[in-house]
Amino acid sequence: MKRIYGLEEDSIKREKVSFALVLTAAEVAMLFGFILIGVISPATMAAPVAEGATVTWGFAYGIVIVIVSVLLTGLYVWVENRSSV
């Protein structure tokens, strides 16, 4: 059976591509949200997370991005490796 250059059956391919796209969109949204808030309202980023705390929302958001990026990567790798060679 002839198949198109490097692409699997259309439906499987569509699923895989959209999973990757969803994750990409999530990553982009996360980072651009960070930048957007920093641009529109830096005071929000500089505000403490709790009354009297020193750690600000900026730190919280930043470290969340660092951690979630690894988690999303792990999720993607786990799902893809499970379902392929």
Binding site: K2, I4, I35, F59, I67, V77
Partner: protein, 547 residues
């Protein structure tokens, strides 16, 4: 303060290195640090031994470019992380946080998103369709010659810019750490790098990266642990001390530079997020693993190690404010850090771990430069020997011995060129070159690669024209922008206000690729479109076919 040159230009990229000017303006030689020299010699001997071992195992092009395809996921992950965590991450970002607080961490956070994008969009298809270089994947269904010539040119452009920045930084760093004259420092770096690559190829560079990444991570973790222990493992306490010491007080706890220039802020985010997926020396690492599965796994490990290191920078960055800025032992008479702003991370090592940790981290900092420079040179020499010589000049006729010979020769040439450029640019402010490499990667290699992997209607002409437009616009707009036009050439206002210009050059590249492909009426375009329907599914790379 000298480090403001980073923030003002929005330049520092994660694999960046200290700016030449940041050093040049400070006082001259550093003192001799015996511990550092001992560690340094141990490291150099170990890596030369690795190179010797690697050279015995490097017999074919498979070995030279792709380490025989036998690198495991974990090893490759460490090597990729090593490529990314250079002196710039450890020294440069820490210095940024020292001077500007949270603003420095914005760069760190943005860099942490590069790897996920790489694996979501690029890693597995790249591995499936390529053999040694990313140009293999792009020319899988497009015409060889024009695509390879474009890809090789883009690779050499990116590699050269990166190399110059690294070489200049290396020279300044060694001068300060080991008291060696800049010229000798350049030669030392150049010669060692040429040895690793010419004799050991990808096997050597991979293992050198692995060793260095491990040392950097261990050293970083130790430093972060010691810093936190000074503050009873209470990050808030660390921040409070930093705020009380820093001249800008509580303002350092939030981002400030983003709001000053919103468009540039997004442009920088784009560059740091998508640029990784266009860096040739990183893409090359995907061919050292046996399969797509392992390629994906290696990105997971890479992101884990890199982001761990970025988290460490959160701690040591503010640690430098708390423990170095207030300690007169590390400051000169004007209150600036001894040896320049980029030394604060090492002063911190001294502050928390004494001379031994200082020596260790100094040697590691030097090692990071060597390793990154080697990876870059290998990518450059692969562009010459595999893309240009083997596939364009010899039209894919297999001739492994000659190809390896050409790579070794081009390594030597690249090494000499790198040293010469390092000497020429010694006093120049080269920080803009790092933001430029990311912009160029985002605007030339990344768009072409992404479209080649996913878009069936991309044609040869579209890819080459679009990629070239992206490359040229990225370069010209950077030159016309604040980084070069104002800061280097001394004009008063920039011709182009956005820095980096990614937000313009990247969409421009994509749009040009699309437009030219859609309007393509050439014979080659017809061939490209016909070929899509005919190729059978390919599990592995097929030797290039000349059109």
């Amino acid at each position: 303060m000298k480090i403001r040159c980073y923030v003002a230009r929005g330049a520092a990229a994660s694999s960046g290195v200290v700016s030449g000017q940041c050093f040049a303006a400070e006082s001259g030689h550093g003192g001799l640090n015996l511990v550092a020299i001992v560690f340094f010699i141990i490291f150099v001997l170990a890596t030369l031994f690795i190179t010797y071992w690697a050279s015995k195992r490097t017999k074919s092009t498979d070995d030279f470019y792709a380490a025989g395809g036998q690198i495991t996921g974990l090893q490759n992950g460490l090597a990729i992380a090593g490529d990314y965590m250079s002196a710039g991450t450890f020294l440069g970002f820490t210095a940024l946080v020292y001077s500007s607080g949270f603003d420095g961490l914005v760069y760190v956070v943005e860099c942490a998103t590069g790897m996920p994008i790489l694996v979501f969009l690029i890693a597995s298809r790249l591995r499936r369709l390529g053999k040694y270089t990313f140009a293999d994947a792009v020319s899988a269904r497009l015409a060889e010659r024009p695509v390879r010539i474009f890809s090789a040119s883009a690779t050499l452009c990116i590699v050269s810019l990166y190399l110059v920045a690294q070489m200049v930084g290396a020279g300044q760093l060694i001068k300060l750490l080991f008291g060696l004259d800049y010229l000798y420092a350049e030669f030392v770096v150049g010669i060692l790098m040429m040895c690793y690559v010419a004799f050991g190829g990808m096997i050597a560079t991979t293992w050198v990266q692995i060793v260095k990444a491990t040392l950097l991570l261990i050293g970083g973790l130790v430093m972060a642990f010691l810093v936190l222990s000074e503050f009873h493992f209470n990050f808030s306490e660390l921040l409070r001390r930093a705020v009380s010491i820093h001249p800008q007080g509580a303002a350092i706890l939030g981002p400030r530079f983003l709001a000053k220039d919103p468009i540039s802020a997004f442009s920088l985010g784009l560059a740091l997020m998508f640029g990784t997926s266009g860096l040739p020396h990183i893409l090359m690492r995907f061919f050292t693993v046996p399969s797509e599965r392992v390629a994906r796994t290696s990105v997971f490990w890479a992101s884990l190690f890199m982001n761990l290191f970025f988290a460490i920078v959160f701690v040591i960055g503010f640690g430098t404010i708390a423990l170095v800025a207030s300690n007169p032992a590390f400051l000169d008479s004007a209150g600036k850090p001894l040896g320049g702003g980029n030394m604060v991370a090492l002063h911190l090592a001294n502050a928390v771990g004494g001379n031994v940790l200082l020596g260790f981290m100094s040697a590691v900092a030097f090692a990071t430069i060597l390793a990154v420079v080697s990876g870059l040179t290998l990518a450059g020499s692969a562009a010459v020997s595999h893309d240009l010589y083997a596939c364009v000049f010899r039209k894919g006729a297999p001739d492994q011995k000659n190809e390896v010979r050409v790579s070794r020769v081009s390594t030597l040439v690249l090494g000499i060129v790198a040293v010469m450029l390092g000497i020429v640019f010694q006093t120049q402010n080269v920080a803009y070159m790092l933001s430029l490499t990311f912009s160029v990667a985002c605007s030339s290699t990344f768009p072409v690669l992404l479209l080649a992997l996913y878009w069936k209607r991309l044609t040869t002409v579209g890819a080459v024209v679009g990629g070239s437009v992206g490359l040229i616009s990225a370069v010209l707009l950077t030159i016309a922008g604040p980084a070069v036009w104002v800061n280097v050439l001394g004009n008063s206002t920039p011709l182009f206000p956005i820095d980096p210009p990614t937000i313009v050059s990247m969409p421009l590249a994509f749009a040009t690729c699309w437009l030219v492909s859609v309007l393509d009426r050439t014979r080659q375009g017809k061939l490209d479109r016909a070929v899509v329907g005919e190729f059978t599914d390919r599990e592995t790379y097929i030797e290039p076919i000349s059109h």
